[in-house]
Each structure stands twice: as structure tokens, then as C-alpha cells.
């Protein structure tokens, strides 16, 4: 296997001696982006010795992405060349670069070489670029070349013919030499059809930013990656001191060959509810627990998670309303010791949906599931998760994928959903979730002088459930279905 940025060499003399012909696995040659999540999305990284475009509006994170990539790839072999052109002066680029954790001053000037070619381009126009590249290749032998911004060079051309000629000559040169090139530019989606560099590019990634009220959402998207599979769609990211923090979009899992749903029932931990469900819920199923405020959803969710901890099943409780202290108090009110429950495997998580994107919440949840080998999970509540999602379709896709992941992994889950009134009908997301969930429970609250709570099982899969409306009571011992 060759390493990225090297010419593949097969010594035939040796082959003869050993009688073998090592293959040249081009598909295995990848240049890591310096960002693990980006590499996951890119199917392992950018193809080595390729030409790639990193596009996005000013401030979208292109330069940071490229800088993280070059510092991660910098080593003692061949240097990396970063051309700044007419978009941003070199001094400005380097000044802000120093604030990032990946910046390493020791690599500057030898392993990472920044060169401002703006003056040459301003004087001689875009025709100056190819000779500059040729000079760099023959004197520095760079393994990576970044041109920031390439669109600024392109826009110097006087005619379409000049642009095409410049792009053709640059492509021919970069293709002849073993280097991976990144052309950064403030391109828009419409430019993809117009600018010739998009036709010759092996990879195209986009950084975009969307304003939502008082916060911004940023997305990373792969448009094209020749000869490689990649994770399609928009992947949220944040810019941090460490560079880009990317949250790969959750997709439905591959159903393993021979996968069979679990055939074991588990207890909900709610007195009387297991009997209503024909002996508990099937392991790996998802239960939608709907009801108005004060009906007892959080109580049931906590009982379910606490029961899991008692049974030695790591349980994760994701909540978006009560902070950890409030939740501890609620657990104590149920007669349980929160410290003991946590020692037994209960993981209580509070996330503010106001500040977070759904992507980051989901990524954090899956990280906890993996690390804690979680078997039970409660999301309290779906409505809060929905407020963290800006796109209803995206939310639906996420929830569908979540349910599938839980089923394949044997994670039994309860998803709480707050209704307006005692009905489940009329809410688009709720209807969708009813369809996706294995079980649907509806809690209701009535009464004027005395609050009367009731529970009804609307749906189960594979169970002869109790079809009656059953009164429930919340006491110091928790919620119980009355006989």
C-alpha cells in the first residue's frame, strides 16, 4: 500500500524473486483531514493525489478546516504549501491561526510553508498561477498544496476562455504531480454549474451557515468524492479552539445479517403496567409515552430507568427540562437514592436544547450509549428535542434512525411526549412517532376537585395488551396502575 502523496512503485526485480505482484490499492489511499468526524463522513479522508474544492461563504470555516488539515498532515517528509492569494493577506491568516490548538509554530517555515502570491497575481493576472505552482513543485516538492482563495484567482480572468485555459493548465500540472490540492473559495451552490474547476475537482465539500434567531447553525456537506463512498447530507458543526467539531448525521443502521428481535420481556418498574403490557415490554422496543403536563411521564420514565439500574442494566436518562439537582430531588421523592442509582449504572444527562443542535445532542447520546453499554434509555421529552431541530424532516429522519439503532442494539427506550390536552391526535411529529414506536401509551389528567390520572395502552407490537383505560396514582412510591 502506498502512503498518501507518494508515487506508487512496484519493484519488479523483487517481484520476480518472490514471484508476487503486490496490488496497487488506489482506493485505500486516503489523506486524513485532521478531523476524525470529517474523515468518517469522507469515507476515510480525501483521495490522495486529488484536487478538491472547499467552498463556502466568508466566515463559514473553510480556512480553519484547511489549516487543521495541513497541521495534522505536516511531518518530516515533504512540506505542505499554503498559497494565500487575493482574498486575505497572509499576515491576517497567520494571526488568527495562532489561536487554534492545532497550530504548531515549530512546523512553520519547514513543514508548513505559507506563501503570499497576491502581489504576483495582481500584477500578472491568473496566468501567473501555473508558473508559481510549477516553481513550487520543482523546488519544494509539496505533498499538499492549498490555494486560498482560488476563486479570487479565477475572478481575475478577463474572459471565460482565459478561465478555462488557466483551470485546464493548473489541473494538468496538479494531476501530473503527486500532490493533493485544496482550492478554497467563496463559491455558492450555483457556481458549481458555472465554474470549470468544479468539473475537474475530485472532491467538493461545502461549509455553510444558517442564521436561526439568535444562534447560527453550521453545516458540513460533501457534494462529490470521486471513487469513494461518503456520508451524504448536511452534518452540523461548531467552530471551537480545537478546530471544527463535526457531528456526523445519524443514519439508519445496517441491519446485521441474521438479526432477530429480542424475545425477552423486561419490567417497566411501574406497578401494574407490566400486566397491562402482557408481561412488560419486549427488549429493544421503543415506547412512546404521551400525555399532558403533570400526567406522570417523567415519573414513569425515571421508574423505568431506576428499575434498569436495579436490574444491573446501565440506563441513560436524557432530559431537557430539569437540571441535575432538580432531577436528583425528583428521584429522592420516588424513594430512591440517586447516588446509589448512579453507582448501579444510571446516567442522568441534562442538555439545554436552547443552545444545542439536535446533531450534537444525538452524538453525545450515542457516545454515552457506547461508553456506558446502555440497555435502557429515556428521552424526556421529544418536544424539547424537536425545538433543537430546525428542520421537521431532519427531526423525523433522526427519530427513525434512532429507533432503528435501538432495535438493532437491543436498547429498550421510552420517549416522552407532551401533548396539549388528553389527546394524541393532531400533532404531526406525534403521529409519526406513533407509527415508528412499537408501543404507544397515553396518560390523561382529569378532574376538578381531585386530579384523576389515567393510562391507556393504545398500541403494542407482539403483545395482547390491556385495552381498558386504567386509573393511575402517583404517591411517594411512584406511579402505579390501580387495580
Amino acid at each position: 500500500m502506498t502512503t498518501p502523496g507518494t508515487t506508487s512503485i512496484t519493484p519488479i526485480v523483487t517481484e520476480r524473486r518472490h514471484g508476487t505482484h503486490p496490488p496497487t490499492p488506489e482506493s485505500a489511499d486516503r489523506l486524513k483531514s485532521g478531523n476524525r468526524e470529517a474523515d468518517y463522513i469522507l469515507g476515510g479522508g480525501f483521495p490522495a493525489n486529488s484536487i478538491n474544492i472547499v467552498m463556502g461563504h466568508p466566515g463559514s470555516g473553510k480556512t480553519i478546516f484547511a489549516e487543521q488539515l495541513i497541521f495534522d498532515n505536516a511531518g518530516d517528509d515533504r512540506p505542505i504549501l499554503y498559497f494565500t492569494t487575493l482574498s486575505e493577506p497572509l499576515a491576517k491568516v497567520v494571526r488568527y491561526l495562532q489561536g487554534f490548538q492545532f497550530f504548531d509554530e515549530a512546523k512553520l517555515g519547514n513543514q508548513v510553508i505559507f506563501e503570499d502570491v497576491g502581489a504576483e497575481l495582481a500584477k500578472d493576472g491568473p496566468d501567473a498561477l501555473v508558473p508559481l505552482l510549477r516553481r513550487a513543485i520543482t523546488t519544494l516538492a509539496p505533498k499538499i498544496i492549498v490555494i486560498d482563495s482560488f476563486k479570487a484567482v479565477h475572478d481575475l480572468a478577463a474572459s471565460v476562455a482565459d478561465r478555462r485555459r488557466m483551470v485546464y493548465e493548473m489541473t494538468a500540472l496538479l494531476s501530473a504531480y503527486g500532490t493533493t490540492a485544496f482550492l478554497l473559495g467563496e463559491y455558492t451552490e450555483e457556481d458549481i454549474l458555472v465554474y470549470p474547476e468544479f468539473a475537474v475537482a475530485d472532491g467538493i465539500v461545502e461549509m455553510s451557515r444558517r442564521r436561526l434567531g439568535n444562534r447560527d447553525e453550521r453545516y458540513f456537506r460533501v457534494y462529490k468524492l470521486r471513487g469513494s463512498r461518503y456520508l451524504e447530507g448536511a452534518h452540523a458543526f461548531r467552530i471551537t479552539d480545537a478546530g471544527l467539531d463535526i457531528y456526523p448525521r445519524l443514519v439508519s443502521p445496517q441491519i446485521p445479517e441474521g438479526y432477530e428481535p429480542a424475545s425477552e420481556r423486561i419490567s417497566t418498574g411501574v406497578t401494574g403496567l407490566d400486566a397491562m403490557l402482557d408481561g412488560g415490554v419486549w427488549r429493544g422496543t421503543t415506547t412512546l409515552l404521551a400525555g399532558p403536563s403533570g400526567a406522570g411521564k417523567t415519573t414513569i420514565g425515571l421508574q423505568f430507568a431506576l428499575e434498569g439500574a436495579r436490574q444491573g442494566e446501565p440506563s441513560l436518562y436524557m432530559n431537557f427540562q430539569e437540571n441535575p439537582s432538580q432531577l436528583m430531588r425528583t428521584i429522592r421523592n420516588l424513594g430512591a437514592d440517586p447516588d446509589e442509582a448512579q453507582a448501579q449504572g444510571l446516567d442522568l444527562v441534562y442538555a439545554s436544547p436552547v443552545e444545542l443542535q439536535i446533531d450534537s445532542i444525538i452524538v453525545d447520546m450515542f457516545r454515552r450509549i457506547r461508553q456506558g453499554r446502555v440497555r435502557r434509555l429515556v428521552i424526556d421529552a421529544l418536544g424539547d428535542l424537536a425545538s433543537a431541530a430546525t428542520d421537521p424532516q431532519r427531526l423525523h429522519d433522526y427519530l427513525y434512525a434512532l429507533v432503528q439503532h435501538f432495535a438493532v442494539s437491543g436498547i429498550t427506550s421510552i420517549l416522552n411526549f407532551e401533548t396539549i390536552g388528553n389527546t394524541i391526535a393532531g400533532n404531526g411529529m406525534q403521529n409519526a412517532m406513533s407509527y415508528l414506536s412499537d408501543n404507544v401509551l397515553l396518560l390523561t389528567v382529569d378532574g376538578e376537585e381531585r386530579t384523576r390520572r389515567a393510562l391507556r395502552v393504545l398500541k403494542t407490537r407482539g403483545s395482547a395488551h390491556d385495552t381498558r383505560v386504567r386509573e393511575v396514582e402517583i404517591s411517594a412510591a411512584g406511579l402505579a396502575v390501580l387495580a
Binding site: T10, P11, V13, E26, R78, I137, A172, A176
Partner: protein
């Protein structure tokens, strides 16, 4: 055989890609070789028979006579017995280059260090009588 008038080892390259030729020319000249190019396989074969170089480097995808056929013709010519051929191609054809009798196969794109290392490696294995190449290799 294989030297120019200045005593430099002469390398003939059958290659049509202008950018590749340009870079090969720079790298090999800087390394102390004399470089000559041929646009197609027929021109390369004629030139090799007329004045054998120290080394022939050929792309497979060249007009008239492809690089592998060119390699076989050279290998079957007793007069060119000591002249090695390196196949340098965009194609992943190490096995076929081996079968054609190439001394080494290099996959594009071009990287100066591995390109020169391959050339030097092949020239080092040449018979002592072709020491002209070794002069340049020592650079």
C-alpha cells in the same frame, strides 16, 4: 552507449502528457541526466535502435506502439540487452509491466523522490559496462 556528448547518462522518455514531461525534464536534469522525449512508441523505438539510451522510461498509453509492446520489442532485441526499461503509467499495471520485461514499474502521479529512487535503483543493477549511467546516479 547511453551517454550524451557531455558524458551524462541519457534517458529517453516516451510520454505525451506535457505537464508530466515538463516535470520529468526538470527533475532528471537537476539530477544530472540528459533527457530526451518521444511523442509515441514508434518514435521511441526508432530512437532507441538508432542510439540506445542508458534507460528508457515509457507510459503505457502512448500512440502507435503502446508502452508494454514497446517494452517487449526492446527486450526481444538482442542489441538492446543491457538497456533497462521502466514503465511509468497512470494504469495499475505492475504485473503486465513485469510480464513485458520491465525492470521496474512506477505508478503516476510523479513524485520526485520516488521517481529518482526508482531510476537510480534500476541503474545500479545495470552491467558494469554501462558505467555511464552510474556516473549520474552518484549525484
Amino acid at each position: 552507449m547511453g551517454q550524451n556528448d557531455n558524458g551524462k547518462a541519457r534517458i529517453l522518455i516516451a510520454e505525451r502528457d506535457r505537464s508530466v514531461r515538463e516535470l520529468q525534464g526538470v527533475f532528471l536534469t537537476n539530477a544530472g541526466f540528459a533527457v530526451e522525449f518521444a511523442d509515441d512508441g514508434q518514435v521511441a523505438l526508432d530512437r532507441v535502435r538508432q542510439e540506445p539510451p542508458a534507460l528508457l522510461i515509457t507510459e503505457i498509453l502512448i500512440p502507435k506502439i503502446d508502452g508494454l509492446t514497446l517494452c517487449r520489442l526492446v527486450r526481444n532485441d538482442a542489441a538492446l540487452e543491457g538497456m533497462p526499461v521502466i514503465v511509468f503509467s497512470i494504469l495499475a499495471a505492475g504485473g503486465r509491466a513485469n510480464d513485458a520485461g520491465a525492470a521496474a514499474f512506477l505508478r503516476k502521479p510523479l513524485v520526485e523522490s520516488t521517481f529518482l529512487a526508482a531510476i537510480n535503483g534500476v541503474m545500479m543493477t545495470m552491467p558494469t559496462g554501462t558505467a555511464s549511467a552510474a556516473t549520474a546516479v552518484g549525484r
